[in-house]
């Protein structure tokens, strides 16, 4: 059945929503037709998620009008409804962060809040019927899950399928997906698209929040662009281009990563070929390095454990030449976090060694590594990269606080003047907005928060940069900026280890590409030989040849 573009499923008009002083939505509108896949795009902090939480009943709007179509097609005013009413009307939301109980099975999670019980006064849970219902739904939708499996044992992609099933189980005919592909490998993304297309065939409506333009182009029928809490424009996908969407999102022309993809790897291989194996220089015989292209970072036989596995990182060896970006692709949870943390000094290496320039830092403290020239953009800026309640100025010296002291007793007083100078300089150089150094980091958008981290780690002298998910949850303008910074660092002869769940990002920036799977580097190849098609199978573990 062709979607009839005449019947809107959802119409939001002039929605305003503030949180204290933060005005997340100020005149946002959205019209989604029945049976279409509608992409809601915008930079971080543009108000996409807020608008969808208003729609799903989690927030009540301050003003504006919300209408949702009934079964007969007529629009009903639902302004300010709650989540229960939204679910009853068939509007379901799949959140960016899963809301599942890990210790319960898939079936139990789906039933939660609407449990199937046996006849009788005790209302005993009917697990057989629950499993049957889940299997039926799974077959009907093509979302393959095992009803009896515990959610804790699922992969991220499977957990997401359960989230979608949960919404469908409750009768969702309109499904809102908040950045669903952030945690998926390319094959899983393809599978998700297939499921969404099937849903569209059945006349169901999908709103997809995303900021990945290639996704928008490949899956959506219509596009609504938001900027600064307002709806900027509404586009038909077939009539537009990624460049146009990006321009509407940011409000100016932007350079997309795909435009500047380098097609040749510079130096990445040549270093590995020429460096003698015997270069095991330590601090005392560092002179060996003169004249030779010593690796900036060298990791040998590194094995790291985490809470579940003794070999979360399993005997990994690599080196990075000056002026080289080594990109590590892979689905999250394959040891990337443990690898970065071990190199950064936040996690102990079980065995193996880590050399920075020619200095063995395997057992060094975080501070000693920083002093030796290691910079680190951590993957989770909210947990590690920033103290959210600290000011921008204070966050700009985190990890460097011992350099911002002045003489006197124990040389331990913070030098407020230099901290302020540093803040002013970095805010200007990295275009951090708002530009008030006294504002807490919490008050900034995701992109600007990340710029604080990038400014701190790259705005000082360093030899090697560990960049973990450097552009996650960051808007298009900031992505462009951060990518330019990484390229500049390469140009200045720094070594960069880039870890990203976004394969396009890895391909856009790297000189060599590695894929991490099951704690190992299953493939390391020059950028020129790498492509999504080549790497995809390695990311899912289908190809294991090292």
């Amino acid at each position: 059945m062709m979607p009839s573009s005449a019947t809107p499923a959802i119409r939001l008009t002039d929605i305003h929503k503030s949180f204290g002083p933060v005005r997340a939505n100020r005149g946002a509108s959205l019209e989604v037709m029945r049976g279409e896949i509608h992409a809601l795009v915008g930079e971080n902090g543009a108000g996409k998620s807020t608008l969808m939480r208003v729609l799903s009943g989690m927030y009540a709007p301050d003003s504006g009008r919300m209408e949702v179509s009934e079964a007969n097609g007529a629009l009903r005013d639902v302004t300010g409804w709650n989540t229960a009413a939204a679910i009853a009307a068939g509007v379901g939301m799949v959140h960016q962060h899963f809301m599942l109980v890990p210790t319960l099975t898939v079936a139990e999670n789906l039933m939660l809040g609407a449990e199937l019980t046996k006849e009788g006064p005790l209302r005993v849970l009917d697990s057989a019927r629950a499993a049957q219902a889940v299997d039926d739904l799974s077959r009907r939708t093509g979302l393959r899950v095992n009803a009896e499996q515990r959610v804790a044992d699922l992969s991220v992609g499977e957990a997401q399928r359960v989230e979608i099933l949960k919404a469908l189980y409750r009768g969702a005919r309109t499904l809102i997906l908040d950045e669903p592909t952030a945690v998926l490998s390319p094959p899983e993304v393809a599978e998700l698209w297939q499921v969404l297309r099937q849903m569209r065939e059945r006349g169901e409506t999908i709103v997809l929040i995303t900021h990945k333009l290639d996704e928008v182009m490949s899956i959506s029928d219509m596009i609504t662009v938001m900027r600064h809490g307002r709806t900027i424009t509404r586009l038909r996908t077939v009539d537009t281009t990624p460049q146009e969407i990006a321009r509407e999102m940011v409000g100016r022309d932007v350079l997309l990563a795909a435009d500047v993809r380098r097609d040749a790897a510079l130096g990445g291989e040549s270093w590995a070929a020429t460096a003698p194996d015997s270069v095991t220089a330590t601090a005392e015989n560092g002179s060996l390095g003169s004249g030779l292209a010593l690796p900036t970072l060298e990791v040998r036989g590194l094995t790291v454990s985490n809470a579940r596995r003794s070999n979360a990182v399993d005997d990994v060896s690599f080196s990075i030449a000056p002026g080289e970006i080594l990109g590590v692709a892979g689905v999250e949870g394959n040891g990337q976090t443990e690898l970065i943390e071990a190199i950064a000094g936040l996690r102990r290496a079980r065995s193996g060694s880590i050399l920075l320039d020619h200095l063995d830092i395997t057992g060094a403290t975080v501070r000693a590594r920083g002093d030796a020239g290691l910079s680190h953009i951590p993957e989770d800026r909210h947990a590690r990269g920033l103290v959210l309640d600290y000011s921008i100025a204070d966050n700009l010296i985190l990890g460097q606080q011992h350099r911002f002291t002045r003489g006197g007793f124990l040389n331990s007083f913070l030098d407020g003047e230099r901290i302020a100078d540093n803040a002013r300089k970095q805010i200007r150089a990295f275009d951090i907005r708002p530009n008030d150094p006294a504002l807490p980091a919490r008050a900034l958008s995701g992109g600007n928060q990340q710029k604080i981290v990038v400014a701190r780690e790259m705005g000082r002298d360093f030899r090697v940069l560990l960049a973990a998910q450097p552009t996650r949850g960051v808007d298009v303008g900031a992505i462009e900026f951060i990518h330019a910074q990484l390229r500049t660092a390469r140009g200045m002869g720094k070594g960069v280890l880039l870890l990203s769940a976004d394969l396009a990002e890895v391909l856009a920036l790297s000189d060599r590409v590695a894929v991490m799977y099951g704690g190992r580097f299953v493939i390391v190849i020059p950028r020129a030989q790498a492509s999504e098609e080549v790497l995809g199978p390695y990311m899912t573990g289908a190809e294991r040849a090292a």
Partner: protein, 372 residues
């Protein structure tokens, strides 16, 4: 729900909200002071109701309460004396809270500080001027409290033992130990206290201002104020303080920033214990000149309320200590008109009022600031 308030529509946008620069130290102080004021207001209202229930006239009772505390210099001196100990214990707990640690052990740290100071005092040759002996006493008191606090910090850093559990348990152990040592080796027969110290007695305020005559207020009060200023300086102006607060807010981010949370926990608990321990000087050097079983008298626990009402800010702690000392001393003054539990109820109400009001107060402050 359907119309935006005009103020909001005229409000600056999120990205421009920073146009009005924030003075972070000012806002910190506001956050520290406001809970005390709110608490005072609520205490007054609830106090009114309670007094009416007891069949008394609120105005008369509050007048008596005021006259017995701030209304005459003896009463005010007693308020200052009580506030001194509470400032130390409140500061101790506030300091630990800044590192993300809930120190429930100030009671035993206070006792241990007073005890060790008294022991040292018994060993010192008699007749020395207080100016000479004071540093020695301070070191002893800080050591006594610091060891107890530091032990809890170490247990957390080494074994991950939660400080709430360990400090509560250390209260039992340390208080029992001090009780044992006093009873078996140190006490003067028929009493619960040691011999009187022959050196180090500190001047009372009445030595400088005759009108304080009879009150126990003494120069340890000045030490308490200095301690608050130093603690403030340490927390907000030194690298160690920067690192300590980072651990308190986000241990993972602090670790990323080259700070070892375990080391900070040990250090913070040691300093916290030392501050509480210094509070022992108020009784031992400023008032009785001996160690007496149970002199802490709950000041270590009331310090939790002082720290929270004071917004865990050293300067807020001073004011909160004055507030609780006033209620406590005022309770004695109005004892004839209302039962003594009146004061305990009032203290509890104040604490609950603060617990309830603080998030609300902060939210209001934030909105006001971005508009101004």
């Amino acid at each position: 729900m359907t119309t935006a308030s005009p103020e909001l529509t005229q409000d600056t946008s999120t990205t421009e909200a920073a146009a009005a620069p924030l003075r972070s130290s000012r806002s910190r102080l506001e956050e520290a002071l406001l809970p005390s004021l709110v608490a005072l207001l609520v205490a007054a209202i609830v106090g009114d109701v309670l007094i009416l229930i007891f069949g008394q006239a609120p105005a008369a009772v509050f007048r008596l309460l005021f006259e017995g505390t701030w209304g005459n210099s003896y009463g005010f001196g007693q308020v200052l004396y009580k506030a001194t100990t509470l400032t130390f214990t409140g500061l101790s707990i506030a300091f630990a809270l800044r590192a993300g640690l809930f120190n429930i052990g100030a009671e035993s740290q206070l006792a241990a500080g007073g005890f060790l100071a008294a022991i040292v005092g018994l060993l010192l040759p008699p007749g020395l001027s207080w100016i000479v002996t004071l540093p020695v006493y301070m070191a002893a008191a800080a050591l006594g409290g610091g060891v107890v606090g530091g032990a809890a910090g170490q247990l957390k850093a080494r074994f991950g033992a939660h400080e709430v559990i360990t400090t509560i348990m250390l209260n039992f152990i340390v208080l029992a130990l001090l009780s044992f040592l006093t009873a078996t080796h140190l006490k003067v027969p028929e009493t619960l206290h040691t011999k009187e110290l022959e050196s180090g007695a500190l001047p009372r305020l009445s030595d400088f201002f005759a009108s304080f005559h009879g009150s126990a207020a003494n120069v340890v009060l000045v030490l308490a104020m200095i301690a608050c200023v130093i603690a403030w300086w340490y927390l907000f102006r030194t690298r160690r303080g920067f690192e300590l607060r980072a651990v308190g807010l986000q241990p993972e981010a602090a670790e990323y920033g080259g700070v070892k949370p375990g080391a900070v926990w040990t250090r913070a608990m040691t300093i916290s214990g030392a501050i509480a321990g210094l509070g022992g000087l108020n009784f031992v050097l400023g008032y009785k000149h001996y160690y007496e079983e149970g002199f802490a008298g709950g000041a270590g626990f009331l310090g939790i309320a002082v720290a929270l009402v004071g917004g865990t800010h050293p300067l807020g702690v001073m004011l909160a200590a004055l507030l609780f000392a006033t209620i406590s001393q005022g309770g004695l003054a109005v004892n004839a008109m209302v039962p003594k539990q009146f004061v305990e109820v009032l203290q509890a109400v104040v604490i609950i009022a603060v617990a309830v009001s603080v998030p609300e107060v902060r939210r209001l402050l934030r909105i006001q600031r971005t508009r101004g």
